[in-house]
Amino acid sequence: MWKYRLGALFILLVGGLLGWYLYSSEVSGSREFRLGLDLSGGTQLLYKADTSAIAGDLEESLDALRETIERRVNLFGVAEPIVQREKGSSIAGEGEQRLIIELPGVTDANEAIRQIGETPVLEFRMLNEGAMAPQEGTTTPTVDEQFGPAILTGRHISRAELQFGQGTGLANQAVVVIHFNTEGRDIFAETTRNGVGKVFGIFLDGVPISTPVINEPIPDGTAVISGSFTPDEARELVRNLNFGALPVPIELVSTETVSGTLGGEAVKDGIMAGLIGFAAVAFFMILWYRLPGFLAVLALSVYVVISLALFKLIPVTLTAAGIAAFILSIGMAVDANVLIFARMREELAKGKSTDEAIHDGFARAWLSIRDSNISSIISAIILFWFGTSIIKGFALVFGLGVVISMFTAITVSRTFLLALGSKGRTSLSRFLFGSGIKI
């Protein structure tokens, strides 16, 4: 019995420490809860990647796209922007490649869209045999017939720089010098070696800005774009190329913006609902189950601090739906306790001592606790798979809640009950371990 009392003390201590950790880390801001955009306020943008023109490695191009946009978004100066790749469901169509951009605190979606969309798409394409080179700086409907597919794109660029007056014919003219990465250098070297005398086009956002003739092989991996830039245009192009020439064209499909005030209200209401829910459940449990009910409330408190600590440590992004799941789980978490107490009461009714009743009650209840909770876990897993980010938040919290509540019921409640270790058959102990509202 002293073993159980030490165990109970240990659990209370750990619970207290976790509670203190939750409080101090939230107050000091060293590790705050991670809030979803619907609570913190901000903008989420969903882009579709147009992968039809990608000739090489799809995955690599898309990763490059993600990294480029991330660099670009980081320039916004918002805290913790998220740029994620996502594949559309392949059952519902062809499985689009998408990009989710989350910008906490940004409420002007249009400005964000403009800054992301501003990024140029740079392409190098060979002019087809026998085709006439179009005039630089103009686009024609037949441009796709005149030029072959892109051989080099933004993802082959390692950096770009601005230079003036390079060579004789270009004195005082702003030019953009591109340095390719290793892969780009090899492709460019091979293309220029095989294509001396041919024409290639440098495209910016689908417009041929320069259509030079290849005079000689260029093995060192640099190219000069000498469109008719003003120095400012050239400088901006260099900046955009360095910070994010998009390797794959993208198209905006969905936007969502939530103001900070709406999110703040949701957080406040969520906390309120959680506290009231907890208090009401605790009241009900103590009223009905008396002493075991009180222990169940202690176990429920341990459940709450463990869950909240895990939300911080994993970390789980909390959304309004996630908070709802957590509040729902507070109501469901006592179920295992209720099952155990009901069983205990039956054993008591058979005339067993409270000690035996506790042991047997747990043993009997465990099977139904296990079997019934697995069905909730199945729902949670399928929800997680089905989910958009909102639903995923719900499913994760719900699933975690079920697992943690099983754990606390069979370890924490059990230890507490055994620590009391009442062997008595007195009417007081029978009253305390009894249940129902009649006295």
Binding site: G88, A109, S254, A273, I391
Partner: protein, 300 residues
């Protein structure tokens, strides 16, 4: 056990409720939300007093938004729904909501149609998958129980009760849609899937007791009617079922009354689902098991 004895009355009641719910559903239909259809949703507040909804609607229509509907939200706000926006329309929304009074945009969502249809397919698949997995799971859990009713029957009956548990919240939601424009969105589907999990959770606890009682009888070589075993099992789990529903309903009540506006419809759906789920696990699932066993016994 009274529920087993008068099971036909409960069946009639259950069928009546289900038919009524499906009737309401068919008659009123559901408001499918922008999550699934694609479209724009704008929530805007006017702290200095809101303009008339006609003015707002006209202004937005002039700005190039299509099929605009405006609904009041709270005391000083509106919720606007429209077809998916063109890039031009998206750019001018912030100006277009400014009709006379200074607006504060609270929420602005624009879902592309392809995303909506994808989510719709996924939702249906998720529903079917949950039903399938749960049947298989229940059949698996009760695999050792084959007498007098085969374990598959437990699974099938679970699904029948699930259909009932979906039908009632759907019917209720059709009424909410009619009354205050509640919309079927991703959260609603989440609520339904959670209800399924909860209902099965509840049903399993009752079935589990039946399983245990059957085993104990066999060990003690007692002969007892299946009807009695089932009745006894319901009796033994009754208090637990009701109490667990109580605590769950208490939390959900707190969520509904004090929680964020965003999850209010969600909480209400769950409340209805938990009540139907508890009812069906007590008054439908086990009585159906008994009815099936009697039917088999008569034919044999």
């Amino acid at each position: 056990m009274m529920i087993i004895k008068y099971r036909n009355i409960f069946f009639a009641l259950t069928v009546a409720f289900t038919v009524a719910a499906l009737g309401v559903l068919g008659f009123l239909g559901l408001n499918i939300g922008t999550d699934f259809t694609g479209g724009a949703l704008i929530e805007v507040r006017y702290p200095e007093g809101r303009p008339s909804s006609e003015d707002l609607q006209r202004s937005l229509t002039n700005a190039g938004l299509e099929s605009v509907t405006v609904r009041g939200a709270g005391e000083d706000g509106y919720i606007v729904r429209a077809a998916p926006l063109s890039p031009e329309a998206r750019n001018v929304v912030a100006q277009a909501v400014n009709v006379g009074s200074q607006p504060v945009l609270q929420r602005f969502t624009d879902v592309g149609p392809s995303i909506g249809s994808e989510l719709r397919t996924k939702a249906l698949i998720a529903l079917a998958l949950v039903a399938l997995c749960i049947t298989l799971y229940v059949a698996f859990v009760f695999r050792k129980v084959s007498k007098p009713v085969s374990s598959w029957v437990y699974g099938v009956i679970t699904v029948i009760t699930l259909l009932h548990d979906i039908a009632i919240p759907l019917g209720a939601f059709a009424i909410f849609g009619y009354l205050w424009g509640a919309q079927v969105d991703a959260l609603f589907v989440t609520a339904i899937l959670t209800v399924l999990g909860y209902s099965v959770h509840d049903t399993i606890v009752v079935f589990d007791r039946t399983r245990e009682n059957l085993r104990l009888n066999e060990e003690a070589k007692r002969k007892e009617d299946f009807e009695h075993v089932a009745g006894r099992s319901i009796e033994q789990t009754f208090v637990r079922s009701v109490n667990t529903s109580m605590t769950t309903l208490i939390s959900l009540g707190a969520l509904f009354f004090f929680g964020p506006v965003a999850t209010q419809d969600f909480a209400l759906t769950l409340i209805i689902g938990v009540i139907t789920g508890t009812y069906s696990s007590i008054a439908v699932a086990t009585p159906l098991l008994v009815a099936y066993e009697r039917f088999r016994a008569k034919r044999a």
